[in-house]
């Protein structure tokens, strides 16, 4: 048996011992991973909120680009608002999250939706499409909107 073979077998044995130690570590320490899938804590909801933000951003872009009527936009936005509120409530019920922060987010969402309902629509001077008041440019044709009196 030449030296290279001996060294190879030695390192192979080291690898085997190391692997055995890695596999046995969880048993020796009785360690329970936070993410082992057996005793999973309730989902934090942060990802769900992020997804809702993401969806709202896309929804808004669709609306801004004139691909969606205003009523549709408002209906979908309201749906997302309810989803977000539900996630925030779940977080609070699970004893996680800052109640004051969650409450504030709910109020902001509700207020935003209410503002949206309250804003009057005006006709675009260029293409006559119905556009929410306060929008700087028409989402349908891009024309600048005249300031409201």
């Amino acid at each position: 048996m030449d030296a290279e073979t001996v060294i190879s077998i030695f390192f192979g044995a080291v690898l085997a011992v190391f692997s055995f130690a890695v596999v046995g570590y969880a048993f020796i320490h009785g360690r329970q991973s936070k993410s082992d899938g057996v005793d999973v804590p309730p989902e934090s909801g942060d990802q769900a909120l992020a997804d809702i933000f993401d969806a709202i951003t896309t929804l808004d872009l669709e609306y801004q680009l004139g691909r969606m009527p205003q009523e549709e936009f408002q209906a979908q936005f309201q749906g997302y608002r309810m989803q977000a509120a539900s996630v925030l409530r779940d977080q609070l019920e699970a004893g996680r999250g800052d109640p004051a922060w969650a409450l504030e987010q709910e109020i902001l969402l509700a207020r935003g939706a209410q503002e949206n309902y309250d804003r009057r629509t005006i006709a675009c001077p260029d293409c006559s499409a119905a556009v929410l008041g306060g929008t700087p440019a028409c989402p349908h044709c891009g024309a600048e909107m005249a300031p409201q009196s």
Binding site: G12, V22, Q32, D36, Q47, A50, W101, G112, P139, H140
Partner: protein, 665 residues
């Protein structure tokens, strides 16, 4: 090194098998320690396979010809830079490569798995490790790259000359990684089903890993085309070879998957459909691996004299049957959150896009298996070739490009005719104008006209989207146009990354249509000093030089290229003969511009000094090779984690993230 490599391989096999069994047992017996231990075994398996891989690389570098695999795929004349290529040049090394890549992808996927799939992770780990167990077992038992010869040869047999090309550094590994990478989204889907998580939990991980596999397959296919174009000497880039198709089919189904998974992510729809798609894609990936390891259809890509066919066929059968059994078991729970609101919606466009992609995949599969079916039914083997695929797949692909143009312009849920008219009018006008201009310029080929027109529709649609979005940002925020454009893309990376990928597909279309419909080919024998005119090029053959090398004889021919009496370039093209392989390999001389390629390749060097040349003028093919990097850029942008949670701009009331969340509990 052979011993260390072999020991590592067996350790990896034990770890992968333990991880498979331990993950399921730990989950079922509610033993967190066992689940954790199984996951650690998965990481350790990746380490063991890395050691095995390094052992083989070192064996190649040190030219350890005692190892049969090293002796069969390298020799003393092989430059060290081709060690990487020699590593996966044969069945044994490529299986080790596949196992190593799968182990690392699995480790990263599980390590970075999103919180919402944690409940299903033990099953996901089990699926990944079961697949890894299969590959490592086949490698260790049936195709061990560390098997020794009974004697030590003085020199090896050498690397296949066709593999000594830059493209080979990436083409096979990208394709193999893409095929095996499909296991990851498949494992997330199957793991979720097994855990009873039949909602949208696995969607983010599935989409991300689906995209990674998709771009690996796409770059592998493109690099393979480029390799064929520059080295094989026939001037083409796609042969509809069974193994090419075997890699193309999972790519098609993955393309359908990464589109329809967006619908599930956004709208909670297509839940069953996405499971079916990822199962089909995984099955086709296994079919691809079966095809080049002993499949019964002959191919230039197959590993010669492989006896692994039946093992892969068995694994293919299990890999198709079991996932569909799980799907049927969980079928009652797989209800979508919503139904299709209207056929005039983006969801519907995605659905039609999916059906077209599957139709192309099915046609390609049919063409691949038809020789077998004809042999079984009539004792006569009938093979189908390019005309079949062109005639059937051509119109389907045009339909896909059409959908690529209008799909992104249709809103979710339901489109009104008026909004659709406004969105589609400018792209449609651009398409018609392109057709009219090309027709008036004398281009009268139907398919080409339609393809160019549709390409104009897609490009105009994308550019208009960018323009509108940029202008909106510019007006809303006061940013200059460049900053507004970059921020627009960064703010919605999946969407705009997807647009960039669509542009790269248009580039591919230009290359394919230009070359397929408008190329010129001339085969000519020239003596030194003679010239030939091809299109508006005049080519003067100056002569050929014979250069003996260690393992081959090279003939380098020099040609001057003139246009309008003006010297454009002096090109050199090489043909090399390898006596030990009884094989010739060529290096084409290519003068490449965005308008057209001038392609010259020597087909034969005659004793009197004259040379047979194949000369081609390939219009627009340059765009095909540029499409690769553009496609990768788009995919990276689409994949880049979306960490910015900025509120939507006015008039959206989404001010939820207007202030950062306080850290104090």
């Amino acid at each position: 090194m052979a011993e260390l490599g072999a020991i590592s391989l067996w350790i990896a096999l034990a770890l992968a098998a333990y991880s498979t069994v331990g993950s399921v047992a730990g989950k079922l017996r509610l033993s967190p320690a066992l689940v954790e231990s199984s996951r650690s075994a998965m990481y350790a398996a990746a380490l063991a396979l890395l050691v095995a891989t390094l052992s083989l690389i070192i064996a190649f570098i040190s030219r350890d010809f005692e190892i049969a695999y090293v002796a069969a795929h390298s020799d003393l004349a092989m430059p060290n830079r081709f060690t990487w290529v020699a590593f996966y040049a044969g069945n044994e090394g490529s299986l080790l490569y596949i196992a190593t890549i799968l182990s690392f992808m699995s480790a990263i996927a599980i390590w970075r798995a999103p919180e919402k799939v944690k409940d299903a992770l033990p099953y996901t780990t089990a699926v990944l490790m079961l697949t890894l167990t299969f590959f490592v077992a086949v490698t260790a038992v049936m195709a061990n790259p560390f098997d020794k010869l009974p004697f030590v040869p003085v020199d090896g047999e050498g690397i296949n000359p066709l593999l000594t090309h830059f493209g080979m550094f990436f083409h096979p590994p990208a394709l193999m990684a893409g095929l095996i990478g499909l296991t990851v989204p498949f494992a997330f889907a199957t793991g979720s089903l097994l855990a009873g998580k039949t909602g949208d939990e696995w969607v983010d991980a599935g989409r991300a890993w689906g995209l990674i596999s998709w771009v690996l397959l796409a770059s592998g296919l493109l690099l393979g085309s480029w390799w064929a174009y520059t080295i094989l000497g026939w001037g083409g880039f796609w042969f509809w070879d069974p193994v090419e198709i075997a890699a193309f089919m999972p790519w098609l189904v993955l393309t359908a998957f990464i589109h329809s998974i967006m619908v599930q992510k956004r709208r909670g729809m297509f839940r069953m459909w996405n499971i079916v798609l990822i199962n089909v894609a995984f099955g086709l990936a296994l079919y691809g691996m079966f095809m080049n390891r002993g499949g019964s259809v002959p191919s230039v890509h197959s590993f010669g004299a492989s006896s692994l066919g039946w093992v892969f066929l068995l694994f293919l059968a299990v890999g198709v049957a079991v996932p569909f059994a799980i799907f049927i078991w969980r079928y009652p729970l797989l209800k979508s959150a919503r139904n299709l609101d209207s056929m005039l919606s983006r969801e519907a466009a995605f659905l039609v896009n999916n059906l077209l992609l599957l139709a192309i995949a099915f046609v390609s599969l049919w063409g691949t298996v038809y020789p077998l079916i004809s042999r079984l039914t009539s004792n006569e083997e009938i093979t189908v070739a390019r005309p079949f695929y062109d005639q059937v797949n051509g119109p389907l692909m045009l339909g896909l490009i059409f959908l690529m143009g209008i799909g992104p312009l249709i809103p979710w849920r339901k489109a009104s005719f008026s909004s659709l008219r406004k969105s589609l009018l400018p792209p449609a006008a651009a398409g018609l104008a392109t057709v009219a201009i090309l027709f008036s310029l004398g281009l009268h080929k139907d398919y080409a006209l339609i393809a160019f027109g549709l390409s104009a529709v897609v490009t105009t649609g994308i550019l208009l989207e960018w323009y509108r979005g940029t202008r909106s940002r510019h007006r809303g925020t006061g940013e200059n146009y460049a900053a507004a454009f970059l921020h627009l893309i960064w703010a919605n990376r999946p969407r705009y990354g997807g647009y960039i990928v669509h542009l790269s597909i248009i580039m591919l279309t230009l290359g394919i249509v230009g070359t397929s419909f408008f190329n010129t080919q001339v085969d000519v024998v020239l003596s030194p000093g003679e010239s030939v005119t091809v299109e508006d090029y005049e080519l003067v053959f100056l002569g050929s030089v014979e250069i003996p090398k260690d393992n081959r004889t090279e003939y380098t021919s020099t040609i001057q290229v003139f246009r309008g009496g003006k010297l454009l370039e002096t090109l050199r093209t090489t043909r090399a003969f390898y006596p030990s392989f009884n094989m010739a390999s060529t290096r084409a001389a290519v003068r490449s511009t965005p308008v057209e390629d001038l392609f010259i390749v020597p087909s034969e060097n005659l004793a009197d000094g004259s040379v047979g040349f194949r000369i081609l003028v390939n219009p627009l093919i340059w765009w095909m090779w540029v499409a690769g990097p553009v496609m990768m850029l788009g995919t990276v942008i689409a994949l880049w984690p979306q960490t910015v949670r900025a509120p939507a701009p006015a008039p959206s009331p989404a001010r939820l993230a207007a202030r950062p969340r306080p850290t104090a509990a």
